[in-house]
């Protein structure tokens, strides 16, 4: 395991935050395309909406930092397989419902809170700590918003993944 690299400047820290949003937005867009291909339009639209939201966060960070081009941290490796807000490809199901998609989004936002809290608790300059705390607070707000959204969506009925014409029949 490589040693964690802690940001030394606010600029460097925000580059990590920016990269996290880039990866999350790209992934949600990919997942929207997957669902669209499999004619699950409701979930496709939801993932597309999440992609737009993450894209907005990405652009907000860039605007806040005055970046006109991608920061150097665009290329790096997370210590975990992917960024904290990136949905694992393996979590999808072609019959999944909006509730499932929102649960994945909620999980991602919680990981983002932990990610920033970890930076805030580490030995970093005070400016970085303040920025990490601010980002953690923003992510907590996202958790709350997703929670509200989930409250308006019906949870799946038992047997939601039953398919009368499944792809894996081999009789």
């Amino acid at each position: 395991m490589k040693k964690d690299k802690l940001p030394r400047t606010v600029e460097e820290f925000m580059a990590y935050a920016w990269a996290m949003e880039v990866e999350a937005a790209d992934r949600y867009a990919e997942l929207a395309a997957q669902m669209s291909t499999h004619h699950n339009r409701e979930v496709a639209e939801l993932f597309a909406k999440l992609a737009r939201i993450e894209g907005k966060h990405r652009d907000q960070i860039a605007a806040q930092m005055g970046w006109t081009r991608a920061p150097d941290a665009a290329v790096f490796r997370w210590q975990t397989p992917e960024g904290p807000e990136t949905t694992d490809y393996g979590e999808l199901h072609y019959l999944m419902q909006p509730w499932h998609a929102l649960k994945l989004a909620e999980h991602n936002e919680r990981r983002a809170v932990e990610f920033f809290e970890r930076f805030a608790a580490a030995k970093v300059p005070s400016g970085v700590r303040a920025a990490a705390l601010e980002m953690a607070e923003e992510e907590r707000e996202h958790v709350r918003l997703i929670g509200e959204w989930l409250g308006k969506v019906a949870p799946p009925e038992p047997g939601w993944d039953d398919d009368p014409d499944p792809p894996n029949v081999a009789d």
Binding site: A19, V75, Q79, P81, Y89, H93, A170
Partner: protein, 282 residues
Amino acid sequence: MSTTVSEAAAPPMRGPNDYKSDVKPVWCPGCGDFGVVNALAKAMAKLALEPKDVAVVSGIGCSSRIPAYMASYGFHGIHGRALAAGTGLKVARPDLTVVVTGGDGDGYSIGGNHFLHACRRNVDMTYIVMDNRVYGMTKGQPSPTTEPDWDSKLSPDGTGLREFQPLVIALTSGANFIARGFTGDPNGLADLIEQAVRHPGFSFIEVLSPCVTFRPEQKEWKKLVKPDAFKATAEMPRAVRRLLRDTGFDLGVLYCGNRAPYAPRGPRASLAPSDLEARFAL
């Protein structure tokens, strides 16, 4: 494991999305192969390759659809013959970066013989096999890497046949770079692909790529994989000994050999077709 970052590097000239085509994959949601497209695009971006200088060649099967999803040149060939097509292409156009892709059935069964000889010839190209231990496209028949006791409607009580050992075969047949990756770690896989493309000669990456439709139990692979378990060596005896205790889920670079890649000898490459005909005439 903590979620933090390490190792900033120079920004690429193009982003990963610039290496993906507008064609959307038709794979089942949850399929591991999405991670390979993601990793391949990232590796190409890190290598700062021009899409026009890359050719992705494949055979037949779910994973062999990849050329359509990349913005580079591509050749979707016939079953098991991806390595033959890729070899011909690389020898004729050594300036291209040739990446051959496919699945375990395509590469180890129908194309098994080509696999052995591609390792032996050591032409400078990269071969990525997405191994899900099943023929997915044709509805779930056992493949060469399927466990002997995998019980299914098409193989009641299992085949009883021991599994093909891709890394052992690659090592003993002469592959110059051998690694294993996992689709659940697209960034780690991108690193492996980048190293494989940079390494001279025939590079082979076995990629554990779950099939969520016919092998849903493979979703557990993410708990079984062992990142960075292999430590790269250029010594074949050491690599052989390491494989004796391979769990099948050990990830990383196993072997980086020093064998010179194949290069056509003599003036043949510059001869006109008519001169070649004369040399081969009976």
